[in-house]
């Protein structure tokens, strides 16, 4: 019966329900401070999840985005150290450039060296984390280094009534709208969907797997670079050992909650956006009701499992054959 609904609506139901339940159970969430902390959580996760979505649509997975974010954050921090009055556009360019290069490295390893995506990104998860240490000389980026032009992205914005929408959230909204439009209209991005639902068929139509992998991992890295700006603007400091650690799990969870099939081929920006919103709301509600930091990892693991359960795909045979996520790359 739910099959009658358009897919975008159907996939939006689980995250929307989750958000509604959080607000019902935790009425304090409607307070302005809680809403503000949701709004400051959301952009970083959202940007990461948009990049991750395309990778998952292509039938792969990118677990290195947390480390790419760390690497790009440290690179941006070091850049700001030497160029304290750099315009904000340049900050974006630096972080995005570092992220893009890192993503293209992933894409080249998967596409040309034919290493399975999961194995590649587990390996680069470690390697990019090492680069985060190398680029910063294992030092911490402190608040005095991070210029106001970057922190203003999170603290200033467009006022709506008594409430301000931070610039970085506006950037994320624009990025999501742009990606949504691009995914619907650009043939190259359409072919990612074709490739994800049937790699063999896509190959026969002249779509090369290496170019797809280069594209999706490159975009995933690029968005992780954008997310690095969001990270630095929100926290105004960064340590190479902790910036972005574990965020890949949140990004994957958001995409899974947003109804994208793990076997590839489907996935929409809007439901994934709700997935991100849900995770942000959940995060803040846990803090509001006083669940300690010690519990977060456990709760998070449970939610990822619940999301996997909710996402149970219609085609089990296809799902089990992609069990390692590696067959597609073979």
């Amino acid at each position: 019966m739910t099959n009658r609904l358009p897919a975008a609506v159907r996939e939006s139901i689980p995250p929307a329900l989750g958000i509604a339940i959080c607000f019902l159970l935790v009425p304090k969430l409607a307070a302005p401070t809680a809403l503000e902390s949701i709004a400051s959580w959301m952009p970083m996760l959202w940007l990461l999840a948009i990049g991750q979505l395309l990778v998952i649509v292509a039938g792969a997975v990118d677990v290195s985005v947390g480390s790419i974010l760390g690497f790009a954050t440290m690179a941006l921090g070091m850049f700001l150290k030497t160029h304290p009055d750099a315009p904000v556009a340049l900050s974006f360019a630096v972080a995005a450039g570092v992220g893009l290069v890192a993503g293209l490295i992933n894409g080249a390893i998967v596409g040309y060296l034919k290493v399975p995506p999961l194995v590649t990104t587990i390996a680069t998860l470690a390697s990019f984390r090492g680069l985060a240490f190398m680029v910063s000389g294992a030092t911490t980026i402190t608040g005095s280094v991070v210029s106001d032009s970057v922190t203003n992205l999170a603290s200033k914005g467009v006022p709506i009534g008594s409430y301000t929408v931070p610039w970085i959230l506006i950037f994320a909204i624009l990025a999501a709208l742009a990606m949504d439009f691009a995914v619907k209209s650009l043939p190259k991005l359409r072919s990612v969907y074709a490739f994800g639902s049937n790699a063999e068929g896509a190959f026969r139509r002249g779509i090369s797997s290496s170019s797809i992998y280069l594209l999706v991992f490159g975009l995933s890295g690029l968005f992780a670079g954008f997310a690095a700006v969001a990270y630095l603007s929100r926290f105004a400091m960064a340590a190479p050992g902790s910036a972005g650690v574990g965020l890949e799990l949140s990004a994957i969870a958001a995409v899974v909650i947003g109804g994208a099939k793990l076997s590839g081929g489907t996935g929409r920006i809007f439901p994934v956006t709700l997935g991100c919103l849900f995770l942000s709301v959940l995060n803040v509600s846990l803090a509001v009701i006083g669940v300690g930091a010690d519990w977060q990892l456990l709760v998070f693991g449970l939610f990822l499992l619940a999301a996997l359960g909710a996402n149970r795909t219609a085609d089990p045979s296809k799902n089990s054959s992609s069990a390692t996520g590696s067959r597609k790359a073979a």
């Binding site: 194995v119 680069t124 294992a138 010690d294 519990w295 499992l305 795909t313 390692t324 067959r327």
Partner: protein, 323 residues
């Protein structure tokens, strides 16, 4: 045929390459520090990695069957914490050990149940349990570390006929696993599933049962690693053994086991264990921070898989002539 050759014992090009690299590492190590080639020092430093080596050996079953288990590091740390908590509560040594091994099996079994229940790919389920199991350890321990009684401290320093106890466990386990893959139905069925799941199912192999056993074994091996770890360190904390799944998978893949399943190389895993533990030791005495070492492990993993991917045809030929 009567002529003796190493290849009849299963020695192949990968093994020669790894052995050469081991010697190279020894030479480089002796240049970095005069005391590197000291027998006791080498034994100690290789023992440090025996826990990961044990996990890697058993992970061969999971990987050879064509799937992957990323939760091994979290099982290791959770079991270590459980052991510490139990022994701090005054339980006797055998009870603690049995409970620890049982917990490892149960956690491995939980992975299996979740894969079946959620009908999701194993790697994603184990990504979730990676977070879940470590999360449980964190809730259990909080920020403190729990010390264990003297009775189980320092098994890594006890030697028997020239080798430490963890290394004995590792080498005996390697022989056992080698035999299972070579002779036992379970090993043969694991390889059959890894090379062609559909064909194996048609040939009457119980695919889900065989994989379930592989996951439970990986859980037990992680528990053994956890118990050895508490013994070595004398205490447990929830943030221990982070990222050892990368080390373990790298050992398996560098050793020549195919990440896509269907081909296993137990001797290769042992040699890769020796190589990686020596390389990590050299990097340690050269004062390379842990994160740089991880970077290197990542590169090594990619290089190993890519080296196989680049010449698939050659590999296929070697397969055919050997089996």
């Amino acid at each position: 045929m009567s002529k003796f050759s190493l290849s009849r014992l299963g020695w192949n090009g990968t093994h020669s390459l790894i052995t050469a690299l081991i010697f190279l590492t020894l030479v480089i190590g002796s240049r970095v520090s005069d005391r590197f080639l000291d027998r006791v020092y080498l034994l100690e430093s290789v023992t440090l990695f025996a826990e990961v080596g044990i996990v890697a050996l058993v992970l061969n079953f999971v990987i050879a069957s064509g799937v992957i288990d990323l939760s091994v590091g979290s099982i290791t740390v959770l079991v270590a914490c459980l052991y510490a908590k139990l022994s701090a509560a005054g339980q006797s040594l055998p009870v603690c050990l049995l409970a620890a091994i049982g917990a490892g099996a149960a956690l491995g079994w939980t992975n299996v149940l979740l894969v079946k229940l959620l009908n999701a790919p194993a790697f994603l389920v184990t990504v979730a349990t990676l977070a879940l199991y470590r999360g449980i350890a964190q809730v259990l321990m909080g920020p403190q570390s729990v010390e264990i009684p003297e009775s189980w401290v320092g098994i890594d320093t006890q030697t028997f006929v020239g080798l430490t106890i963890p290394l004995w466990i590792l080498f005996l386990l390697a022989i056992l696993i080698g035999l299972v893959f070579d002779r036992h139905v379970f090993g043969r069925e694991t390889l059959a599933i890894g090379s062609n799941e559909e064909a194996a199912r048609n040939a009457g192999v119980n695919v889900s049962r065989t994989r379930a056993i592989a996951f439970v074994l990986a859980g037990v091996a992680s528990a053994v690693a956890g118990v050895l770890m508490v013994s070595r360190l004398g205490l447990a904390r929830h943030e221990f053994s982070r990222g050892i799944e990368l080390d373990a998978i790298t050992m398996v893949v560098v050793g020549g086991t195919s990440i896509r399943g269907g081909k296993v190389d137990v001797l290769g895993t042992v040699l890769a264990f020796l190589l990686i533990s020596l390389v990590r030791t050299v990097m340690g005495i050269a004062n390379l921070p842990a994160e740089y070492q991880f970077s290197f492990m990542g590169l090594l993993l990619i290089a190993a898989v890519a080296a196989i991917g680049i010449q698939p045809r050659k590999l296929l030929l070697r397969f055919r002539t050997r089996s």
